[in-house]
């Protein structure tokens, strides 16, 4: 095991870990070799195998879309070159939906400003077919997949009017799910298990999360914060939601992760790490049973991202960087790899340099090297 790997596995989690490890061994010869070498991976919920990391390298006038094996990111395969307005890269949906990735982008030749209507595209990684879905999207608001990739929800604006638009990808039929006049903003989150489209609304009262269905007025699901919350993520099974919200701890304002159950089941995120420290990038494990959060380095030179169980298991600290902290982004569907952004600094006000990394549950870290910014998009599994 790597010197950098920290694991805290309780006896209650051992059966789960063993089962997942067996599945992982059966799936991957590479992992088998490692396991036989005594490098038994600490796994989170598993669903599939052979994931490939989907990411883009930012370019001044075109982003390069790549696919790479998670433990060998340098062996990347160029999928597409996505041209855009100078300086303004793609803004992808968080995660792929099967073979589909989606993103907003300012087309080359348009006014390179943040409020210029953006194009919304879908790329099928299996066929490399690119489809333009819309030309009126808000660039800075990432689209959201729904219905296993059959549907996209995006935001568009006209003056102070903002609309959440649902598009069926197959035939591009669209409907406005919700529209409102606002000085601030509404942000699509995704569809809850009960069928509501969840969205966040900013106002002078802070951040509310609402649910809405076609033709029905939205209803308040919960008040998330008196401040601006962010990084909303639905659990893969739609049963809960996570987000970051600022709060006063010690003498500072720090962003902390929260979990809210969307059904009858109460979901409680255990407190972990420094009680006054910042947390980053709450990311659900594929089985929806745990949340992975990054944390500031504080007085230590490095802080690991930690898997926080919502079902009572002990936290699992992933392999930390040599220096700095990690911001989780996306778990691979098999739960073996976490794509993350990693910083050499201490916290949000002293980030140092930023890069991308794949953190294996085997205790290794696989840097996603690039001369420019890496935009993490999702994971793709060949059928």
């Amino acid at each position: 095991m790597s010197d950098h790997t920290r694991r805290r596995l309780s006896s209650r989690s051992l059966p789960l870990v063993a089962g997942a490890a067996v599945l992982g061994l059966a799936i991957s010869g590479f992992l088998l070799v490692r396991a036989l070498g005594g490098d038994e991976p600490a796994t989170v919920g598993t669903t599939t195998s052979e994931p490939r990391l989907v990411f883009a390298e930012f370019g001044e006038s075109a982003d390069l879309l790549y696919l790479a094996p998670p433990d060998r990111p340098q062996e990347r395969t160029l999928l597409e070159t996505i041209e855009h307005a100078p300086g303004w890269g793609i803004n992808p949906a968080s995660g792929a939906a099967g073979p589909l990735v989606a993103y907003t982008v300012l087309a080359p030749g348009v006014v390179p400003e943040r409020d210029t209507p953006a194009e919304l595209w879908v790329i099928d990684l299996a066929t490399r077919e690119r489809t333009r879905i819309a030309r009126d999207a808000d660039l800075l608001v990432a689209p959201v997949f729904a219905d296993n990739g059959a549907v996209l929800v995006y935001r568009r604006s006209a003056g102070s009017q903002q609309e959440l638009v649902r598009v069926v990808i197959e035939d591009s039929t669209r409907s406005v799910v919700h529209a409102e006049q606002t000085t601030f903003g509404i942000f699509p989150i995704g569809y809850a298990a009960d069928g509501d489209l969840l969205f966040a609304r900013l106002s002078t009262a802070g951040t509310d999360v609402l649910g809405v269905r076609d033709g029905v007025a939205p209803t308040l699901r919960f008040h998330a914060s008196d401040q601006i919350a962010r990084d909303w993520r639905l659990a893969p099974d739609g049963s809960a939601m996570s987000y970051l919200a600022p709060e006063a701890r010690g003498e500072r304002i720090v962003h902390r992760a929260y979990v809210i159950g969307l059904g009858d089941e109460e979901r409680v995120l255990p407190d972990a790490g420094s009680p006054t420290g910042e947390q980053y990038g709450p990311t659900w494990t594929p089985d929806s049973r745990a949340l992975t959060v990054g944390q500031e380095a504080e007085t230590e030179t490095a802080a690991p991202a930690t898997v926080l169980s919502l079902v009572g298991d002990d936290p699992i600290a992933l392999a930390p960087p040599e220096q700095g902290f990690d911001v989780p982004a996306l778990w691979s569907p098999d739960g073996q790899y976490l794509a993350a952004r990693t910083f050499s600094g201490v916290n949000s006000m002293d980030t140092g340099t930023e890069s991308a990394v794949v953190i294996g549950t085997d205790g290794n870290r696989y840097p996603v090297t690039a001369a420019t910014e890496v935009i993490l998009i999702g994971w793709y599994v060949h059928a």
Partner: protein, 443 residues
């Protein structure tokens, strides 16, 4: 039946009128000042030497100090309850970083080489030139043409920079009536770079979190939190940063050309969003006009900027004493001679010094001038493109609008930056031998 038809027509007319009224509440719409054509401008040297000197001068009101429109206004200083006019001053490095963020500090389009005259940099939202000036750069549709100010801002980098500095100063002076104050603990001293946080935010749009033009630093629209500092080197997407962080990042990472740094490196401090002193004012609850709860102290460590020295001959080099002249004041276009083009060119000369801005106009509908405005250079300004140092005005003829087979029109070329007026008389001959009726409206 006839009555029903009449009612139908009236209904259709009503719908059209209502639609027109909704589209244009005042009965007018705006277009960019030179639409659909592009004015020409002078792109100076690649090291931006003249631009940098002009920015230094504009920042201290040494560029056009006596001009009733382009002089830099006094900059207010003091806290909310005690704010008063003070000397006009903007930290020059701020203007340089804004110029880089807006246009990579260029006056002309990318297709125009340095040290030459070519198409100006004009974006679809009517942003013009180095400072991407949009304010005041539109005209009502159907108006008679651009104003003198619009011509100089679009064609002459000196006026463009002066106007950009003014706009930034307007954003600063918007406090406290309509904007928050930055620097409550330093008397909001404009010589402190960090105190320009809100003014720079406003240069790109002072909008609330969640709006599609938001520059609020806590806006969840900026996808990644936390975000590394902007490096200003083309390696990071702008999607992730509010405008003021782009400018701060550029100040800390000066670009170089030909071994020359385009501005001095300044590691300006951003508000510490983990500190209640900054987080609380930036709370969404405080986003209420006139934003009086958003006042912040000076982010520390702060940078005090000293006014730069401006070369004494700068004004004469940039503006000089231009004098307008043309290669001809009378020309003929023969449409009835297939061997000659349906257009004529006029060379616009500057017999004086500095940069002469010119604008061409005509009241004759069959004449089309292109470009609508441009520049001609006086002695001493490097210029390598064809036609340099002169401007070239092309006069095209639209034969379908000729009032007769022999028509005379005039094009007036004026120089709003001083230098006079030239009138060019164009005679158009279109005396075709017509073999069939209807082939020429001219006869």
């Amino acid at each position: 039946m006839r009555k029903r038809t009449a009612l139908f027509v009236v209904a259709i007319l009503g719908v059209v009128l209502v639609a027109a009224a909704l589209r244009s509440p005042n009965g007018t719409a705006d277009a960019c000042a030179f639409d659909p054509r592009i004015p020409f401008a002078y792109e100076a040297d690649q090291s931006r030497t003249l631009y940098r000197m002009a920015i230094d001068a504009a920042a201290t009101n040494s560029l056009l100090p006596g001009d009733p429109f382009f002089a830099l206004q006094p900059i207010e200083r003091g806290v909310r309850s005690n704010r008063a006019d003070a000397a006009p001053f903007i930290p020059p490095v701020l203007l340089k970083a804004i110029a880089w963020t807006e246009s990579t500090m260029t006056m002309a389009s990318r297709s125009t080489p340095f040290d030459s005259i070519g198409e100006g940099l004009v974006t679809f939202d009517c942003g013009h030139g180095i400072m991407q000036v949009t304010t005041g750069m539109t005209v009502p549709l159907g108006s008679s043409g651009p104003s003198d100010r619009q011509v100089t801002i679009a064609t002459h980098f000196g006026y463009n920079i002066a106007r950009g500095a003014q706009i930034l100063a307007e954003k600063w002076n918007g406090a406290p009536e309509a904007r928050p104050v930055a620097g409550t603990d330093t008397a909001s001293d404009p010589a402190i770079l960090e105190n320009w946080y809100y003014a720079v935010w406003g240069y790109n749009g002072f909008t609330g979190p969640g709006a599609n033009r938001s520059n609020h630093p806590l806006d969840p629209s900026f996808a990644a939190w936390p975000r590394a500092a902007y490096q200003c080197d083309g390696t990071q997407s702008r999607d992730r940063y509010p405008y003021q962080e782009l400018v701060w990042g550029c100040m800390a990472n000066p670009q170089s050309r030909n071994g020359v740094a385009l501005w001095e490196r300044v590691n300006a401090t951003l508000p510490d969003l983990t500190s209640p002193a900054f987080f609380t004012p930036l709370s969404i609850a405080n986003w209420r006009f006139p934003y009086s709860e958003m006042d912040i102290p000076t982010p520390q460590p702060a940078n005090l900027v000293i006014a730069p020295a401006v070369p004494p001959d700068l004004q004469s080099r940039i503006f000089g004493s231009p004098s307008l002249a043309s290669s001809t004041e009378r020309l003929t276009v023969r449409l009835d001679d297939p061997t000659t083009p349906m257009r004529a060119s006029v060379t616009i000369r500057n017999q004086g010094t500095g940069i002469l801005s010119w604008v061409a106009s005509t009241t004759d509908p069959f004449l089309i001038v292109d470009p609508p405005a441009g520049v001609a250079l006086g002695q001493g300004l490097p210029c390598n493109s064809s036609g340099c140092p002169n401007g070239t005005l092309t006069i095209n003829v639209n034969p379908t609008l000729l009032p007769a087979s022999r028509a005379t029109g005039t094009v007036t070329v004026t120089s709003p930056s001083g230098g006079g007026t030239v009138t060019v008389t164009i005679t158009v001959l279109a005396e075709f031998e017509v073999g069939a009726p209807g082939t020429s409206r001219a006869r």
